[in-house]
């Protein structure tokens, strides 16, 4: 039985991801939602990307049928089980997950220079045995990440600050790889493997 297809996008990367096996395990889907929300969170924290940029990316990728407006986007991101619950959590389906993957990687490509600069700074500071907060770009990123995370996520999901920093830096480096031409494939496979 083939599931109904919601979108008629001609996006070739979409077509490519469509050929991967489906996700029918709810726990796996939950993990994927959480991870995608975090990837978007890291983009927000680094580049100030808001819902407008995300919706614009959806339009450029011919994914408006899935992410049409701010309400749809909010609902998609609210599906993250780590978020503070406001009742009636939406279920993220596979097509929406695919769309968010493509959007994340599209935005990572757009901001590749900034992401690379941040990672290079991190490398320099590590070489000098300095803390990442000592560079303004990284300091702002880490602060934004932590504040937004704490604001949005359920308090039970709040990690200690050093783990939060590690998470933020790991996501930053992941973004660099997602900004490559086949980043969407890397992200999708990472989501699949991570959620098993």
């Amino acid at each position: 039985m083939v599931a109904p297809v919601k979108t008629s996008t001609h996006n070739p990367q979409w077509q490519e991801l469509s050929q991967h096996p489906p996700i029918d395990d709810p726990a796996q889907l939950d993990n994927i939602k959480a991870q995608l929300d975090l990837v978007l969170l890291s983009l927000e924290a680094l580049a100030g990307i808001g819902s407008e940029a995300i919706l614009q990316a959806a339009a450029q990728l011919d994914l408006e049928s899935i992410v049409a407006d701010r309400v749809s986007l909010w609902r998609l991101r609210q599906s993250n089980p780590l978020r503070k619950s406001q009742g009636g959590r939406k279920k993220l389906d596979v097509e929406e997950a695919r769309a968010l993957v493509l959007i994340c990687c599209h935005l990572a490509k757009e901001y590749q220079e900034l992401i690379r600069r941040a990672v290079s700074l991190l490398e320099q500071l590590a070489e000098q045995n300095k803390e990442p907060h000592q560079a303004a770009l990284l300091g702002d990123y880490l602060d934004n990440f932590a504040n937004t995370y704490q604001e949005r996520m359920d308090e039970e999901a709040h990690p200690p600050m050093d783990e939060m920093t590690h998470l933020a830096l790991k996501l930053l480096i992941d973004l660099l790889f997602y900004s490559s031409p086949n980043g969407h494939r890397k992200l999708w496979l990472a989501l699949m493997d991570r959620s098993r």
């Binding site: 599931a3 991967h20 031409p181 494939r185 496979l189 493997d193």
Partner: protein
């Protein structure tokens, strides 16, 4: 001579290869005897940190595999220090994690006195290395390598061995029809069929090469995308002799190097296939005269092979290891001797693409079973495939299915997949695999078999 350079900010990957006469027949650049030079030349570091490694195509593909798998592991795991994909063979390159931003590239047999055993890579250097290798993989398509041909044990790989002989024959015919002056070397004395087949270079390929399909044209892409050509029956081959030359170790002076800066990636054109350069693994010896070879069956199964007895145990199906893009419709050719079998490992497709699904995926309907035959294939193989303690990596196959549901051919992806194909549970070419497809179309179903158990299938192409 073909030269490619991939130049991300902190490394330079240069590929050199020789044009193959097959280019005229396959309609796209076809190259022989690829060599590479990879320089780690981060401008942020002094000259004393510059390191260069060199090797051939196999070395490059081992490196590509190691980096791609490591990067994917890095992205999958939160805890980096656990990463260290030590390969089965100690001479293969691999990577191990030091920290989030520090990784060791252990060179294995690629090491030299000047390089040392390991190279330390930062996160950006690793990213650049992966980008350069991905760009190479997107451009270069390898012709099949065959292990040593075993005449004593015919198997379902006979057709694959014949394919290489066909390739030789196509080359020979091309040279026969072209001006002799274009042949770089004089042909060597015609060997016996046995010698000829064994002399076709054996070169075990590494595990699946992450060469993704559908990858966007590399930045500053060199050639416009060309459609993949569908294979056609090659009934006969010429008796004449041809011998592509070994390439010189270095590029000829004056040949332009084509730079491919890997800065901004290009937006992929919609519904286009990336242009591919086919690689001949090594020069092949001339075919023997007046002999016959099994037909490489890419025609519908009802068409019987012409010009020679097929390998025993096979029907009209074919085990081919050349991508369809490399076969066109040649003119009628004389026959070549029958070839028995050999595994035909193929290192071409993306491991990333293949290793996609969840470990514990349940049976039943799945949203991505775009045609029912994908699920049927999975169901069948789940009954046959058992966990394998001695296999370390997933086995992957592209299975081309005829419109009647029988297998036309199976293409193993990587040396392990070829080596263990008889454990896969896949039916032989010509045998029924799934229910008939709608219309007269064929389908390519990707099969992934996990060593710990578990089968994944998805539609590659229809």
């Amino acid at each position: 001579m073909i030269v490619r350079r991939y130049t991300p900010p902190t490394c330079t990957l240069m590929i050199e290869a020789q044009d193959s006469p097959l280019s005229r027949w396959v309609g796209q650049p076809t190259i022989n005897a690829l060599t590479f030079e990879l320089s780690f030349d981060d401008p942020r570091q002094g000259e004393e940190h510059r390191v260069t490694i060199q090797g051939d195509r196999t070395d490059l593909e081992l490196l590509l595999e190691a980096v791609t798998n490591y990067v994917q592991d890095f992205l999958t795991h939160q805890d980096v220090p656990k990463l260290s994909a030590v390969p089965d063979a100690p001479s293969r390159p691999y990577l191990k994690a030091n920290s989030l931003i520090s990784h060791h590239l252990v060179l294995g047999h690629l090491a030299s006195e000047s390089t040392g055993q390991e190279i330390l890579l930062s996160a950006t250097q690793l990213f650049d290395l992966a980008t350069a290798l991905d760009s190479y993989a997107a451009e270069i398509v390898a012709l099949p390598n065959l292990n040593k041909v075993d005449f004593s044990r015919p198997s379902l790989w006979g057709k694959a061995a014949a394919l290489l002989v066909v390739t030789v024959g196509v080359t020979a015919t091309a040279l026969q029809l072209m001006d002799r002056s274009q042949v770089a070397n004089a042909p060597s004395p015609t060997p016996s069929p046995t010698e000829q087949a064994v002399a076709i270079q054996p070169e075990a390929l590494p595990e699946p090469i992450p060469t993704p399909t559908g990858v966007p044209t590399p930045p500053g892409g060199l050639v416009p995308p060309t459609p993949l050509l569908t294979p056609a029956p090659i009934p006969n081959l010429p008796p004449t002799v041809a011998s592509p030359v070994n390439p010189p170790p270095n590029a000829q002076a004056g040949r332009p190097a084509i730079q491919i800066p890997t800065g901004e990636p290009a937006r992929p054109p919609a519904n286009s296939a990336p242009s591919r350069i086919a690689v001949n693994p090594r020069p092949v010896p001339p075919p023997a005269p007046a002999n016959r070879v099994p037909v490489i069956t890419s025609a519908p199964p009802a068409t019987p092979p012409r010009g020679g007895s097929p390998a025993p145990g096979t029907a009209s199906g074919n085990v081919a290891s050349a991508p369809p893009a490399l076969l066109t419709t040649p003119p009628p050719l004389p026959d070549l001797p029958p070839i028995a079998s050999a595994p035909a490992p193929m290192s071409e497709e993306s491991a990333n693409q293949g290793i996609a699904a969840s470990r514990g995926a349940s049976r039943g309907d799945r949203l991505f079973d775009t045609i029912p035959q994908v699920a049927e294939a999975r169901t069948l193989l789940e009954q046959r495939w058992q966990p394998q303690a001695d296999i370390k990596q997933p086995l992957q196959y592209d299975v081309m299915v005829n419109s009647d549901g029988t297998i036309e051919r199976i293409r193993p992806l990587g040396a392990s997949s070829a080596q263990y194909i008889e454990r896969s549970g896949l039916p032989s070419p010509g045998q029924k695999f799934v229910s008939p497809l709608d219309g007269e179309r064929k389908a390519i179903i990707r099969v992934l078999l996990r060593p710990e158990g578990g089968v994944e299938t998805f539609l590659e192409q229809q």
